[in-house]
Amino acid sequence: MMGGLMIVFRLAWRNLWRNHRRTLIMLAAIVVGTWAMIFMTALMRGMVDDMVKDGVTVLPGHVQIHHPAFRDDPTIANVMTPPSAALLEALDRPEVVAWATRVRVPAVISSESDTAGVTLVGIEPERERDISFVADDLADGRYLESRDDRGLIVGRKLIDTLETGLGKRVVIMSQDRDNEIADRGFRIVGIFDSKLQQYEEGYVFAGEGAIQELLGVGDAISEVAILGHDYRNVEGLHRMIAEAAGPDLEVLAWHELDSYLGSMLAVMDGFVVVWIVVVFLALSFGLVNTLVMAVFERVREIGLMLALGMTPRSILSQILAESILLLVIGLAIGNLAAWASIEPLKDGIDVSIVGEGMEYFGSAAVVYPALYLSDVILANVVVIVLGFFASLSPAWRASRYDPVRAITKV
């Protein structure tokens, strides 16, 4: 049996190179197609991954706990008590990489020359360090030192808008627990740069304790943000936290918190399949055509083989072997080409020419291609399996020739 298979493939190999031009052109088409499948997929994956990763580090964490009304009405009226003993125990488990509490309210920030609306976030500096971008993206000044730190960290863009700077004082106004306007001067101690301008404009950070005092809410918090191991797989974490938090609190995973980001992952998965299949279909016409021609010009030869006692089945497998061999060689080179073109781009592709446009999509101005093994396998499997089925028809026809007619054909 093995020997038979060997012969089939050796014959297939020789047949392929009888008309090397045709084989080379088809091979080139398969290589380009495979390369495009993998390269394009890696680019898009990279873009979406970064969007999601940035999105997750900007605010949500992987899972968040809120007062049930907070999402609809994110004010100081909808706060929750600090984590209970049961919740603390859950947060201590190994599934949780890091967690932090925050107070988050809409506020108005004023300098001497201008005023802007922002989201004021009171953080626990040490815990927050592991979750969100603030500590990492600090460009100037210092990070907050404790939860009672009265300093303020502001984005670069907002500093420009307000015409203020490091060490300057600004006034923060927000609504306190009794619906009165609470205001207090804060000194800007740090400036952060973010990949996305909207964060630089929209968020300011201060110590959690200082904000609680300003708003007169005691030790109440707005949310608990929790970071797990993998943002693609948060269901287990979500369930565990939801159980520990009890029915009175709303526990949501990031893809529910930001439905745009959440939908992007699903859209990407769909896009990858559609793209691979479309490229394959465009290829398949050429593939079938090549096989049809290969069969056609060998009608007499096939007739002779049949007349000599070769079964139609072995003719069928002969033609299929040629097709599979062609596909496998094409795939091998295509995969290699894709890898070779993605590898040098690992450090990112600068697309800042359209940076502001990328920000519309929620993406940064540098795209890092992400080569997923699963995507590569998908592309290869699609090409081989569908290629096999596409080749069935010409192979079938060849195996059904009437030997006598085939031999006598001019």
Binding site: A29, T115, G117, S263, F285, V288, N289
Partner: protein, 410 residues
């Protein structure tokens, strides 16, 4: 003479029906895809631009230098209503409206939010902006002096107010003075863009100028050109109409919203990468077909050449064959693609996750792509041209064909 070449080419095509149909099939498949994608792009970009400009900036704005980037209260257009009136007269259109905006803290009985308040001319705003048409409760502003406000649906929910309720706002005036007023909510709009529904409010311009000590000044005059293509010429006319010596600049939409154009460019580039791959794959398919068809006719070509037919004419024959195939592919592709687009234009096109994305780009959640000449023929024409280019190689090869040797091939 030409007629004979044409008939020869046509007959040659149908000597190998299957091969021709497979090659045409590759073209038709790619053409349908291109027609669909390009029509979708035309529809989407048009809507993105139009909806965004209608909702926000208009095609053109007259502003003080620097206002575009800094949005400072003091960077004003003096006597803005007169300028708007002059522009209306000079351009003989009503699609010109003066605006002024300021940041303010808006409070209801028990909630406060910081947001952008824009003063608009009630009589003309509807000519420039889609917002007056999006009022779902109550009515749009109608009296230039009235102490009235229209706000977005999300903001209304967050402030827990409805039509007829009162809001107070506090901000700072042009001269840095304290600005405060009480206004009545007369209308609530729903734009479907969460950001806008959350943080945007309009009051009558005269009242705004009073409240914020504007002394008759405003921040912008928004102008709609008759269409996107006329933005350039309209801009030139507006510039000519500006008062002598006034320190004012005219910005077009792509300066006002650089992200929008770049988002389109980014999307356009990645789309064309994909189209490029499809086109290359089709070209390979054509190259293979034509090369085979030339090779198998070597003997025949040898004979006709020895009878005096020039290689140039044979080359033209091969190119004509491709052109015929390409035209067939173009006609079928445009027909089928057009039918698909027309059907989608009627029923709308949507895919999972699009709703979330659509909101980000000011798009409805279903897209109705238009049937346009460009959409129908642009892609297929490129496929046709690249097919002809691909068959240049087999056509040119004929020049080196030795009639005697060619006739001897089996």
């Amino acid at each position: 003479m030409n007629n004979i070449t044409f008939r020869l080419a046509w007959r040659n095509l149908w000597r190998r029906k299957r091969r021709t149909w497979l090659t045409v099939g590759a073209m038709v498949f790619s053409n349908i895809l291109l027609v669909f994608m390009i029509s979708l792009q035309i529809g989407m970009y048009g809507m993105m631009i139009n909806n965004t400009l209608r909702a926000q900036t208009g095609h053109l704005q007259v502003q003080a230098p620097g206002y575009k980037d800094d949005h400072k209260m003091r960077q004003v257009v003096p006597d803005v209503k007169r300028l708007a009136a002059e522009l209306r007269q000079g351009l003989s259109t009503d699609e010109v409206a003066a605006r002024a905006s300021a940041f303010a803290l808006v409070s209801s009985a028990d909630r406060s939010y910081g947001l952008l308040i824009t003063g608009v001319e009630p009589d003309f705003e509807a000519r420039v902006s889609s917002l007056p048409g999006l009022i779902k409760d109550g009515r749009f502003l109608d009296d230039p002096m009235a102490e009235e406000i229209v706000i977005g649906r999300v903001l209304a929910r967050n402030l827990q107010v409805g039509v007829g309720d009162e809001l107070t706002f506090i901000g700072s005036g042009r001269d840095g003075s304290f600005a405060a007023a009480v206004v009545e909510i007369v209308g609530i709009f729903e734009s479907g863009m969460p950001e806008m529904d959350r943080s945007f409010a309009e009051v009558p311009l005269d009242f705004f100028q009073d409240a914020f000590a504007m002394e008759g000044a405003g921040h912008a005059v928004a102008i709609m050109a008759p269409g996107l293509i006329q933005v350039g010429p309209t801009r030139t006319r507006v510039e000519a109409l500006l008062p002598e010596g006034a320190e004012l600049v005219v910005h077009d939409w792509d300066a006002l919203l650089p992200g929008l154009k770049q988002a389109i460019q980014a999307d356009f580039t990645s789309a064309w990468f994909m189209y490029g791959i499809l086109i290359v794959l089709v070209a390979f398919s054509v190259l293979n077909t034509q090369l085979m068809s030339v090779l198998e006719r070597t003997k025949e070509f040898g004979i006709v050449m020895s009878l005096g037919v020039t290689p140039g004419r044979l080359g033209r024959l091969v190119l004509l064959e491709t052109t015929l195939m390409g035209t067939l592919g173009l006609v079928l592709g445009a027909l089928l693609g057009g039918a698909l687009v027309a059907w989608l234009g009627y029923h709308g096109f949507s895919y999972p996750g699009m709703e979330e994305m659509a909101g980000k780009f000011n798009l409805p959640s279903r897209i109705y792509p238009p049937v346009t000449l460009i959409g129908l023929f642009f892609g297929p024409t490129i496929i046709l041209i690249s097919s002809v280019v691909a068959s240049l190689y087999p056509a040119i090869r004929l020049r080196w064909l030795e009639p005697v040797a060619a006739m001897r091939t089996a």
